[in-house]
Amino acid sequence: MHRDHDINVHEVTRVEGHGNIVINVRKGRVEELRLEIIESPRFFEAMLRGRRYDEAQHIMSRICGICAVSHTSASVKAVESATGMRISKRARLLRELAFCGETLQSHILHLYFLVLPDFFSVGSIVPLIKSHPEIAKMGLGLKKLANEICRIVGGRHVHPISIFPGGVVHVPKPRELKDLKKALTGSFERLERTIELFEGFEVPDFEGSREFISLRAAKGYPFYEGDPFSSMDASIGQESYTKRIKEYTVPHSTAKHARTSHGTFMVGALARFNNNHRRLHPRARKAAKRLLLEPGCSNPFMNNQAQLVECIHLTEEAISLIDRLLDMGLAAERPARPRRFGRGIGLVEAPRGTLYHEYRINRDGLIEEVNCIIPTAQNLRSIERDLGEFVVTILDRPRDEITRSVESLVRAYDPCISCSTHIMDVKFV
C-alpha cells in the first residue's frame, strides 16, 4: 500500500477561479494540506467606497458572472434597508423569478459542464458532445432555458439590468411569461432524465459531522428571502451574522476563510436542503428520495444531488411565480425613492450559499463602508478539512485516482473563486 503521497494539483480545473490543491502524506498521515487560492485579490469593497447608493448594484453584480442576480439582489436589499425604501409585491416576485433562473442556470452549468465529465472519465463536456450528444444537448437545452428566465426578467443572461434599488425598472410582457411557462413545463422531462442519469453514478461514502448554515424564510424554500439559520443552534438573526461568522485571512489564500464557534461549517445547496427540506415542492422531495438524499446528510459529495433536487423545486417555483405575476398584471412601475440614509444588510441564498452585503451610506447618498461575505469563502475551511479527512480513506488507490477523487470533492462544493485573468486559448484546425 502506498503510504507516501505528494499530491499537487496546479490550478484545479472545472471550477470558477484559480486554486491549487497541495497534499503531502507521509506514512499514511497528512503532513501538509492546502487549498491555495491564487486568484488576484479583487477589492470590490474598496471599489464601492465613495460611490452613489444607486450605483452599488451595478458595480457589485460584477463580482460574479454566474451569480450576478444574487449579488445584485443582496446589494439592492442592503441599500433598501439602509434607505427605508419599500418595494412592490410585483417587484419582489420578479426578483424571485430571476433567482429561479440564475440558480437553475448555475446548478445546470455545474452539474453538466463541471461534474458530469468526472462520471464519464473525460476532461470536459467537449468529448461528450461527440460521444453522448443526447446528454450534452439536454444540458445545453436546460441551461439555455434557465438563461432565458434571466433574460426576460433582467434584460440579459448575466448582470441583470432591471433590478434597481426601490424595485424594478422593467417588467416583462405577459406573452413572454406565458411562453416561458410553457417551456418550463416542458423541461420536466429533461430534468427527470437528468435524475435518472445521476441515479446511476456512484457517490463516495464519506460523512463527517458539520454545521450547516443557510437562510430560512417564514414560508417557502429560501433564495431571495429569509433569516440565517444554523443546523446546530437554530436561528441566527441578520444582525448577528457577522458575530457568528468570523472571517480571517490565511497565508496561502487571497480569499478569506471563515469559521463559527462550532468550527467548520458548510453553506450551499446541501445546507439549504438540510435546513429547509420540508419546504421543498413534493416533486423535488420525491427526486431527493430517488437520489438517496436524506435530510441531515453530511456527505459533501451529495451537494451535487442537492443541486439537482433544487432544480426540480425551482422549475415548479418559477411556474408558480409566473402564474401569480400574470394574475397580478404587469403594469410598469417606478422604483421607490430613499427616505433616509444609514446602514443596511442584504442577505440572500446565492446558488453556492448564503451571501451577505452590508453598506453604510452617508447623508449625501454615498457609500462609506462595505462588507461582503461570499459563500465560497465560508466553505473554504470546510473544503480543506474534508480534503484531509477524505484523502486518508483512499490512500490505497493509485495516485491518479487519488488526484481525481480529491478534485471531485473540491468540485462538489462548486467553489466560485471568481477570476480576474481567465485565459481561454483556441487552436484552429
Binding site: G50, H58, V126, H159, F164, T421, I423, D425
Partner: protein
C-alpha cells in the same frame, strides 16, 4: 458568456480546438494560435504570464471590459494601492499574495492586443462574429459610434429627458443600447469611442442641470484607466 452560446457551442468545437479553458476543461495545452484574455492586470506576476501568452499566440484578443479598458477594477485606483489593501484586508494586507498587487490596468498597457471584444458583459453575438471573422481570415469590426445612435434606433426615450445621467453620448456602441431599453441608463461599460466628445457630453449634462461632480463620477465608473489617456481627464 462563452458557455452561454448553447446553440452554437457544439458547432464551435467542430471548427476550433479549445486547448486551454481551465474553467470548463481538464485538458491543458500551451500550443495555441489564438488567446482570449479576460480580466485586468492586478498583480506583477500577471504581467509575466501575459507576456508569455503573447509570445505563444499569433492573435491576442482582449475579452470584456476589464481586459480591454481596465473596467470597473480601475475604480480602486482612486485609492493608493496600500490604502485599497487596507480597506479590504485590514492588518492582513501584508500577506505575500496580496502584497504583489499593483494599480489596475488594461492588458494593452503591457502587451500588444490584436482585437477587442468590449463590454461588461460581452455580447455573445460579438464574441461569435469576432470568432467568425478570424476563421475567415478577416479583421473583426468594432463599432466606433456612440451608444446614442443605437439608442435612437431602438426607439428609446432619451435618459436625460427622464432626469438621469447617461454615458450614451461618449460610449462605444455595439450593445443595441440594451440597458436603456430595459429601463436603466448607459453606464459606459464598453469604454469610450476612439475620439470621445467629452466637452459636448459635459455641456449636455450641464444643460440638464447635472453637476461637474456627476460628470467626473460617471466618467470614472468604467473610464478610470483610459479616459485620461484619451482626453486628459478622469482618474
Amino acid at each position: 458568456m462563452v458557455l452561454n452560446c448553447e446553440d452554437e457551442f457544439p458547432d464551435l468545437v467542430k471548427l476550433v480546438d479549445i486547448v486551454n479553458f481551465r474553467e470548463a476543461m481538464s485538458e491543458k495545452s500551451d500550443d495555441y494560435d489564438v488567446a482570449f484574455v479576460e480580466g485586468s492586470i492586478s498583480r506583477r506576476e500577471e504581467i509575466k504570464k501575459l507576456k508569455e501568452i503573447r509570445k505563444r499566440a499569433s492573435t491576442v484578443i482582449a475579452l470584456g471590459a476589464c481586459s480591454s479598458t481596465g473596467g470597473l477594477n480601475c475604480l480602486r485606483n482612486r485609492f493608493p494601492v496600500e490604502e485599497a489593501k487596507r480597506i479590504v484586508y485590514g492588518k492582513d494586507a501584508a500577506v505575500r499574495k496580496i502584497k504583489d498587487t499593483i494599480r489596475a490596468r488594461p492588458i494593452d498597457s503591457v502587451i500588444e492586443v490584436d482585437h477587442y471584444i468590449h463590454g461588461c458583459p460581452i455580447t455573445k453575438e460579438e464574441f461569435l462574429s469576432t470568432l467568425k471573422a478570424l476563421l475567415l481570415g478577416k479583421t473583426p469590426e468594432v463599432p466606433n459610434h456612440p451608444v446614442c445612435v443605437d439608442c435612437k434606433m431602438a426607439g428609446n426615450i432619451c435618459v436625460f429627458e427622464r432626469g438621469a445621467t447617461c454615458m450614451g453620448p461618449v460610449t462605444r456602441a455595439g450593445c443595441n443600447a440594451i440597458c436603456i431599453t430595459y429601463g436603466s441608463i448607459c453606464w459606459g461599460c464598453r469604454g469610450t469611442v476612439d475620439d470621445p466628445n467629452v466637452d459636448a457630453h459635459e455641456e449636455t449634462l450641464r444643460r440638464y442641470g447635472l453637476t461637474a461632480d456627476s460628470v467626473t463620477r460617471s466618467l470614472d465608473l468604467y473610464g478610470g484607466c483610459t479616459v485620461r489617456k484619451k482626453t486628459g481627464r478622469g482618474d
